[in-house]
């Protein structure tokens, strides 16, 4: 009767295989967690930048190299860092940046620092992500004047890049892997531990009375209504010139001045721009999309005039500017 044993054994094997496979599949079914950037919430409209954000260090390193590599431009003259100079607050501090062959841009270059906290990229918000953003400067004839095929070809010719990409991605150098690497690097460009962040974390002594008064005015005059959140801006659109016609006063309106209208075509989006972040704002003159305000004080005054309808007192401007200077953070542990 030996064969009687073979039946249960076979059935057991079948069941075991089935269960094993199921067990395997439930193991795989554990959701892969996208580590969200945890912001410590405080009861203020402004939130502190996390002190530490975990990223793939290899990608960050490679991204930093690419970020500084002029081969990304058509004639190898302009790198990302040419306009987003990390030494000068992530901008070139020019009203309009100079691309390849001396071409001038249409808007002022925003800082690359903390750009990962922005809900959209560009003044008119036409890019949803950092990865999307890169299409702009790479392809724009007045910026890098290149294209992904060209960039890919150049990088593929460089053995160190080929090796570095091969180590990170199965498909090696591809437009999407290049973008991923650079975006990862840009996500590392966060500037925590500004004095104001220390204040938000409970250290009330870190700010002077004047700076606190400046913050108070900032809130009282409604600046906080748009410049809020972790990036003190960068999370909404707003019309430039609510209480006055800034563009009429300034004159010589350019297509870029139409703002988000250029993206949506909606009449209500005329002169609507992404509210810029005020992080490290003291380091990133000139101000506004047109780079028209050379000094922070000018910018605060213009904002008061056109967004609030109030001619701010120089002393008030000074207090607010003092507050704004507390927003300068640190990068890689050193003050910017």
């Amino acid at each position: 009767m030996k064969w009687w044993y073979t039946l249960p054994v076979l059935l057991f094997c079948l069941v075991a295989i089935g269960l094993w496979q199921r067990f395997q599949s439930t193991e795989q079914a554990v959701p892969e967690s996208v580590a969200p950037v945890v912001v410590t919430l405080v009861n203020e409209p402004i939130q502190a930048i996390p002190l530490q954000i975990t990223l793939d260090e290899a990608k960050v390193k490679l991204g930093e190299k690419l970020f500084h590599d002029p081969r990304l431009s058509h004639n190898n003259s302009v790198s990302c860092a040419s306009c987003h100079n990390l030494q000068t607050g992530g901008t070139d501090r020019r009203q309009r940046s100079i691309g390849i062959n001396g071409a001038e841009g249409f808007v002022n270059t925003p800082t690359v620092f903390n750009s990962s906290f922005n809900f959209r990229q560009f003044w008119d918000g036409h890019a949803e992500t950092l990865e999307d953003q890169m299409h702009g400067p790479i392809n724009a004839p007045h910026e890098m004047g290149s294209n992904w095929q060209e960039v890919m070809a150049k990088l593929t010719a460089a053995p160190d890049y080929v090796a570095a990409f091969a180590a990170l991605y199965p498909d090696g150098i591809q437009p999407h892997t290049i973008r991923d690497v650079i975006a990862t690097f840009e996500r590392s460009l966060y500037t925590p531990d500004a004095r104001f962040d220390q204040f938000l974390r409970g250290n009330s002594e870190v700010l002077s009375e004047a700076e606190k008064a400046g913050y108070h005015l900032f809130k009282t005059y409604g600046c906080i209504r748009c410049h809020q959140g972790v990036n003190i801006g960068g999370n909404m659109f707003q019309t430039f010139g609510i209480m006055g016609n800034y563009f009429a006063d300034r004159g010589s309106v350019t297509p870029a001045d139409m703002g988000r209208f250029n993206v949506t075509g909606d009449r209500r989006d005329q002169h609507v721009f992404k509210v810029p972040s005020l992080r490290n704002v003291a380091l990133t003159p000139p101000y506004f999309h047109d780079g028209s305000a050379a000094q922070l004080e000018d910018a605060v005054t213009i904002m008061g005039t056109y967004q609030l309808g109030r001619r701010l007192d120089p002393s008030e401007v000074d207090l607010i500017v003092q507050f704004l200077r507390t927003l300068t953070g640190t990068y890689k542990g050193r003050p910017l």
């Binding site: 064969w3 959701p31 409209p45 906080i224 209504r225 909404m236 109030r310």
Partner: protein, 568 residues
Amino acid sequence: MSASRLRQGVIIFGVVLLLTFLFVQSRVVDFTAHERFTRDLRRLQEVDTTLNQDILKVRDGLLTYYDTLVTASAELNRLYQNIRRSIPSFIGAQGQRDLTRLLDAYAEVLASKTRELERFKSDNAILKNSLQYFPLVATEVAEEAGAHLPEQGPVTELKNLLRDLLVYTLLVREDLTLHLQARIDSLSHNRDAFASAVERSRLNTVLAHAQTILTYAPRVNGLIAELLALPLAQRSAALHTAYNRHYERALRTADGYRLVLYLLSVALLSYIAYIIVRLRQATQALNTANEHLEERVRERTAALQKTTEQLDQRNRMLVEQQQRLRAELADAAAYVTSRLPLPLTGDVQTAWQYIPSEQLGGDAFGYHWLDEDHLAMYLLDVCGHGVRAALLSISIANVLRSQSLPGTNFYEPAAVLQALNHTFPMEQHYNMFFTIWYGIYDKKHRRIVYASGGHPPAVLLTGAAADTVQCKQLRTPGLVLGCMPELTFQQAVCPLEADSILYIFSDGVYEIPKPNGTVLTFEEFVKILTRPIPPKHADIDHIVHTMQALGDSETFADDFSILQITFA
């Protein structure tokens, strides 16, 4: 390979293919993909709910920044993209179409929501700004104007506007809109009343903020109502329901395949079990047959062994018996030989040669002096050979030697033969008859008286020299003895000259079959006896050797006995 082998292979391959197909089909529902998909669907609803809550919090000032709205909105878009990308492959074509259609509908609403949300964020910022700033600036302006202007009039109007606007926004009294608009318009018309006290631009700002509040408050409320009314939750619920329907359909289909797989597996197992049982039965039957066979082989072997032993035993007995018989025969032969006479010397010399064809022969011979002058000589041949012939021949010889035939004159050969014929009839002696030559040598008269019955004649050679030798055949016309009791015999007389040799012999001596198939005749034999001149003492062995050479054989077919008597 044979056709049946090929067919078998094809069938096995087909079954394996079918099993694999069923197995794959039964496991087509990828639970990982299902869980990920439903998780995203659930999360879509959760995030939407959170977003709606946050919108309300923002309106009520419980939330003073938009990061959570941005995060939620981005999450919704991300989840939507995820879901769109990862519709599980086990959902059929119809399901894929259904879900895609529902996703399109969802995307439409989601786009509206995103758009409206942006509008809400901007408008709410403007409204909240004016709501905060208007009381401040209105109070400032009212105070400034109050210092220069009478209490009644435009200043009061401004204060009333402030009060009514606050009531309007606090209590959401949209019915006051027209009333407030009238107040703003009135103040706007009366701007000049403030001219002396307040900068025109400042008053404009106040009115602008008032107008902003009046315009944006219903707009923001409308946006909120619109945002909350957008059927995003319904669309995602519909998506979820449709997905579940198609998921269950896929599960049912997979279950069907699984059922078929199980049934087929059970059938296959049963078949295998059946084959195993059959195999076992066959093996058992074979074993049983084998055991039986072994048993039978054992039995047969034992029987065979027994038989062999019996045979051996019988063989041994036979051999013993034969040995005994042979010994007895040898004894008998020795006895027969012992009864043969010793050679005579002197005037009459004798020599003989006796070679029986078997151990015992039917021939017998002898000679003895009846008195000083008479020598009896005889040679007889009983028909046949062997023991019975030997017994009879020895009996007859003994009778002759002992002369124990009552009333018979042993000097008369015819009388002797007659008496023998009478004494040994074949009826009493096992149907055996015999031939005999009997002679008397009469020394005094120098003659031989003789008689024979059915016997070859004796040969008498006379003469010393070879060329002068004379040959006489001593024959009488007598028949074989033992057949007819009343038979009479004749006797003859032959004178004997000097140097005569008498040969008496049985027919076995000359009836020799030659190699050419013919048999030696008596006359040829006589010539052989005659032709070589025999020396004085003829060597009888010489005759034996000659006959052996003629027959090309050491042995003889019949008894060979020859008696040579030489007379001086």
